[in-house]
Amino acid sequence: MSVTIAVAGNPNSGKTTLFNALTGSNQYVGNWPGVTVEKKEGILIGHPDVVLVDLPGIYSLSTNSLEEEIARDYLLESNSDAIINIVDGTSLERNLYLTTQLAELGIPMVLAINMMDEVEKSGTKIDSTALGEAFGVPVVKISALKETQIDELAGAAMEAAQKKGHLLSVHRFSSGVEHALGHIEEVALHEQPEHKQRWYAVKLFERNELVEAELGLSAELKAHIEQDIRQCELEYDDDSDSIIASERYDFIEEVLERVSVRKKAGDLSPSDRIDRLVTNRWLALPIFALVMFVVYYVSVNTVGTTMTRWTNDKLFAQIILPAVSGKLVDWGVANWLQGLLVDGILAGVGSVLSFLPQMVVLFLFLGLLEFSGYMSRVTFILDRMFRKFGLSGKSFIPMLIGSGCTVPAIMATRTIENEHARRLTVITTSFIPCGAKLPVISMIAGAFFGGKGWLAFGAYFLGIAAVVISGLILKKTALFQGEPSPFVMELPAYRWPSLKCILSTTWDRVSSFVQKAATVILLATIVIWFLTFFGWVDGRLQMLEAGQINHSILAAIGTSIAWIFKPLGWGEWRPVMAALSGLVAKETVVSSLGIFYGFSEVAVGGQEMWMSLRAAFSPLSATSFLIFVLLSAPCIAAISSIRSEMNSAMWTSFAVGYMTTVGYVAALMVYQLGMWLLEGVFTLWTGITLAVTGVVLWLIFRPSPPASGRLKRAKAGARG
């Protein structure tokens, strides 16, 4: 008989470590339906019939956050046979708050007190038998990190689950509240199953509208209950929801006094001492800058670049590609198939996979920062600056990584809790020029501006400006309105993170990237390859010879849409299709221009074709071209990361559409206003551009609409 066991606990309670210890590599990672919160399921080691579900880390079963909503709905609606509630033994008081709520659900439960090694080291003693009696559940003391007592925990959880019974909560509040709850159960809940009554009674006492509706209470009954609640509120001089929260904590305090002997708090713990330094008013920002520098330097600049270059130039260009081409020629494979395999698939997937080493290093660092507790401090340090733009303090990290490669950057947004800030970060991160955009910058700089220094600087400045302006504009739109998420965040104690945990998170992230490369990117590469190398010659669709690029399907598409880019100063199929070919990978823009202008091979900066470029562009239209390439839709790899991080086709199209609009509008403004101010050319388009500029300024500076937000806030309050 198969059983399902849910693992629930506070964030930072060691839940992931425990889950890994219980399931080993037998995990399935996905998303909860319709949202971006990660869902993990696994099989208990040695018990193929026991499924474990890793619920999101939560502090409470109220609906403060998406995570709490998911966990609550899962526990209420699915039929999990038992709950493993993991609590951090070093912070029992707050961790047991969730326990008081879980114990009311009627689902059999086992309490796992984690980090017992640390607890014992600090000299604190916990009487687990007495604690178990207080909650009516078995208690197992464990260390998830050292994997002590894990088998005992699994055994206890299976025993609880296999009974297929119900848990009757035994913890009680003070008499005034119990009187009211008892009365509510009596008048409204006597028909409900016994194990559910307590949960419903507490929710009704808190005036939870959802539960009132679910039970279908008559107006008369509601009024009757309201009397009980009022009387209790009068007696306690507090609101009912506040009374329940206080009662839970009072109960925990009382229990802890009985069951645990704490060593007197005296010296600062090592964690406190680290924190004194790391979030010190004057040292915090320099230390943060140093940490970021090390992460960036090691992953993007040294290890990353070396490995990426090696994969790209050596492994692919010198070993795999020649070997494969050689074999294909030996076997006498048809020309077009050789082209597809070598120029299409291998080149395309290779250029994406070459970022893999860099990504592994970045994710290892990211895991280290997350699990050590530093990531929360980053939010603490930078919150004030970033929230002005609707972002989170943690948005800094994706942006920094984004200057290397946008794909891992978008995946790094996973650490941002606030859904709005997270979406905004996903949308804006690719404005930061990634490594692949640098060749385009140096090509334009070299051909038109005699060097690259300030233009590269300008590109980063443009990226940051686009992020800031987008933040200011988007946070006021309906998409990002609604209730502001409260910023009330735990700063977990610093811990030496478990290597296993870091490795397993890194593995999850990297393998999901490889899967993407193997599917979406592969497909896109094939399509673009086909469009570039096939075309109509003499009325026949065929594979093109060198120099026939003008006949390609790509050129045909380019010619038909070139008018759209006329106002930007480069309405000709070559630059248009070069910009679009950036969808494969941004550095492709350079090689595409090379192919289109008839050069068989161009260097990274495209030196050979500077003369051709100068003939085709003016410095102004070249700038407008560069701006469009930098800001518009990122490469397919990044788009598919956006797709998987947003977990929604609607949001992905919005993101891509928004970025492309920003690129277009910025290029339009630069070109048209430039033509007017520098050359004195005033056309209809100058007028349109001035109007567009006006709209953009209005979008930036208009007051944000606060009314709807407040309304929702009040409503959500009633739900909680």
Binding site: N64, T279, R384, R713, G717, G720
Partner: protein, 73 residues
């Protein structure tokens, strides 16, 4: 009304009542800021906001604007 925002760094205050509404109020209470609990204000972030407090044996950070709904004495 004296709120948590007014408590100086290094001082401890006792919670009288949690005002406000909606998620912020709920969240604040869930995190253990309830009647009579003692809160030690540890520090303020380098840019002046948010603040870091210690209560119930752990560290919590919250924005000054949210600290205003917490009445203390």
């Amino acid at each position: 009304m004296k709120t948590l925002r007014d408590v100086r760094i290094g001082e401890t205050a006792r919670v009288v009542k949690v005002h406000g509404q909606g998620r912020i109020r709920r969240r604040v209470m869930d995190m253990g800021i309830t009647k009579n609990v003692e809160i030690f204000v540890r520090k303020v972030a380098p840019l002046g906001d948010p603040i870091e407090v210690n209560l119930r044996g752990y560290e919590l950070s919250l924005r000054k604007i949210d600290a205003e709904i917490i009445e203390v004495n």
